[in-house]
């Protein structure tokens, strides 16, 4: 196996992955196919870093990613990548990388030939070296003489990632990039995407595997039925969902006393003593509750062993948004 290329500082595009202006701007984008509205009035901007695009199957995630790359034209609204229209201005494709959802790749090429071709077509002057480096980055052997159809699904997925990063794009669009990968490779890819985001690239990744999305970071776009349901840090999104009481688990040696005092304090909407040492509290004033719990514990001389939010993880936020 060819040794991976040495790690070197990124070669940012002149348009600047680390610039402070939005790297991706979507404004009022709508796209329909026949009678089906795939994306409706979606607006957002993205900066450098990793952003996860979440949504149930058929929500419009892939259509939105295709709009970002210019593969499909919006019926209404505009898309700008590094300030340029990816549909009309093909020059911006030098700074765009895409891992498409489909598994198919050119079946008469080797991995090196495919990635080298993509590098050359995107303006890399030493495409073979760049392709070998990109394949090594995804832990594939550039010297492997086999054609791509003989590769496993996970290996083909890694080839798709290699062709997307080979030209070091400022904006990287990844449509379900972890599909077919084993757990170790999923971890490896997650680290790779994270690092690309840390280098100042704008990385947008769609996935339905929420545990892995959480590893990408906390910035999310949630799309439901073609509409943008929420964007930003998912914990902040959760805080804004005031129609959904927060559920918090307390573990203490005096659950009944703590529960009674909390009810009297008026900072909880409801609670339930679920075990010898456990109280489940529902509140719409989560920040007030934390102070109240501490003072109540002091008053009743209780030991607090645990105060754990039960529904501010990404999975809960996602379920609430999708279930609305």
């Amino acid at each position: 196996m060819t040794a991976p290329a040495p790690t070197t500082p990124a070669d940012p595009a002149p348009t600047g992955p680390a610039s402070t202006s939005a790297m991706v701007e979507v404004d009022g984008c709508t796209r329909w196919f026949g009678d089906v509205v795939a994306v409706s009035e979606v607006s957002f901007t993205l900066q450098a870093g990793v952003t996860a695009l979440l949504g149930p199957n058929g929500a419009g995630k892939s259509t939105l990613l295709r709009l970002l790359c210019g593969l499909v034209a919006p019926a209404r609204g505009t898309v700008r990548v590094l300030g340029r229209d990816p549909r009309r201005d093909i020059g911006v494709h030098r700074d765009l990388g895409l891992v498409p959802q489909q598994e198919t790749v050119f079946d008469r090429l080797t991995a090196l030939e495919l990635v080298e071709t993509c590098a050359l077509l995107r303006g890399i002057s030493e495409p073979r070296d760049a392709a070998a480096g990109a394949l090594a980055a995804v832990e594939l052997d550039p010297a492997d003489p086999r054609h791509l159809p003989t590769y496993s699904r996970g290996m083909r997925q890694r080839v798709k990632v290699a062709q997307a990063i080979v030209h070091e794009p400022a904006v990287l669009v990844l449509d379900e990039p972890l599909t077919g990968l084993d757990p170790r490779q999923r971890r490896h890819m997650t680290d790779l995407f994270h690092r690309l985001g840390d280098e100042g690239r704008c990385v947008i990744v769609s996935s339905h595997v929420l545990e892995e999305v959480e590893r990408f970071g906390s910035d999310v776009l949630v799309i439901v039925q073609g509409r943008l349901a929420a964007e930003g840090d998912y914990r902040a999104i959760r805080d804004l969902m005031d129609d959904r009481p927060h559920r918090i688990r307390l573990r203490t040696d005096r659950p009944h006393e703590v529960a009674g005092r909390l009810l009297a304090a008026g900072t909880v909407l409801g609670l339930e003593v679920t075990g010898a040492d456990t109280v489940i509290v529902e509140t719409d004033r989560v920040h007030d509750l934390r102070g109240t719990v501490a003072s109540v514990a002091r008053v009743v001389d209780a030991h607090l062993w645990e105060v754990v939010p039960l529904d501010d993880d990404l999975d809960s936020v996602f379920r609430y948004l999708v279930g609305r």
Binding site: P4, A5, P6, T7, T8, P9, A10, D11, P14, R66, C69, G70, L71, V72, A73, I90, G91, V92, H93, R94, L96, L98, P100, Q102, T104, V105, F106, D107, R108, L109, L114, T117, C118, A119, L120, L121, R122, G123, I124, S125, E126, P127, D129, A130, A132, G133, A134, A136, A137, A162, Q163, I165, V166, H167, E168, H188, M189, D191, L192, R195
Partner: protein
């Protein structure tokens, strides 16, 4: 394990298409065009033409007329358009069907280069497969060098013209083979015979005219000049590269 970084590669930042892109695209298309199945079908048709040509040589009273009518009727109404259809419609059509077009489309390469490379690759594959057996078939009829020369010229211009048309068709429609066969049967085979004006809109009229002008044998649809017979299909081929280029700018890529 820490992921190694991809190599930081020197990039060509010029605004035009990357150097070498046409040649690379041409190589990719070429590699994906020629399959054993397709080649077998085309070579089978060519072999049939040679066999019939030999049969004509031994059986016909007027070998020039019989040979010219056979070459016109079989080679240029069936073998050349079908061969061009099979290869040209698949050049971009296959990338649409298997959804690999995205790898070629999401590049800063001028669309005319993609269209031109696809069309040129299909001509590169199709032309030898029709040229060699049909020229042999023309020689086998015993009609003489005029028919052989006419067949060679008509093969080249006909393949270029049809390849341009069918490359665009492959990008525009699904099941391009069926649409192409319908075009060959209905338009080239039927509508073109309705009037002189309709004939001028049929590539078959131009290849027939080349045969007719070279050999002096009067052929249906073969009344155009030799110059127009040679030039118009080439212009059609180039014009349809333009059409394919335009389609590529408007295509929805899966």
């Amino acid at each position: 394990m820490t992921a190694p970084a991809p190599a930081t590669a020197p990039r060509d930042r010029s605004s035009g298409s990357p150097p070498g892109s046409f040649r690379r695209l041409y190589a990719v298309f070429l590699r994906h065009q020629l399959t054993w199945g397709r080649a077998a079908v085309i070579l089978g048709l060519g072999a049939l033409a040679v066999v019939v040509g030999l049969a004509l040589r031994s059986g016909a009273d007027d070998q020039v007329t019989a040979g010219t009518e056979f070459i016109n009727g079989f080679a240029f109404t069936t073998v050349v358009p079908i061969c061009a259809l099979v290869f040209a419609s698949s050049s971009l059509g296959d990338t649409v069907d298997d959804r690999t077009l995205v790898y070629l489309w999401l590049t800063p390469v001028g669309r005319w280069r993609v269209a031109g490379a696809a069309t040129l690759a299909s001509i590169t594959v199709a032309l030898p497969l029709v040229f060699v057996p049909l020229v042999l078939a023309a020689a086998a009829t015993g009609a003489g060098p005029a028919l052989v020369g006419a067949t060679a010229v008509a093969c080249i211009v006909g393949t270029v013209g049809y390849a341009g048309v069918f490359a665009a068709l492959g990008l525009r429609v699904r099941r391009a083979l069926l649409w192409g066969i319908a075009y060959i049967l209905i338009w080239e085979g039927f509508v073109a015979t309705a009037s002189d004006t309709a004939a001028k809109l049929s590539l078959r009229a131009y290849t027939a005219s080349i045969l007719s002008q070279y050999t002096g044998v009067g052929l249906r649809l073969g009344s155009l000049t030799l110059v127009s017979g040679i030039v118009v299909p080439l212009v059609v081929g180039v014009a349809f590269v333009g059409v394919t280029t335009w389609l590529l700018t408007r295509v929805t890529v899966d």
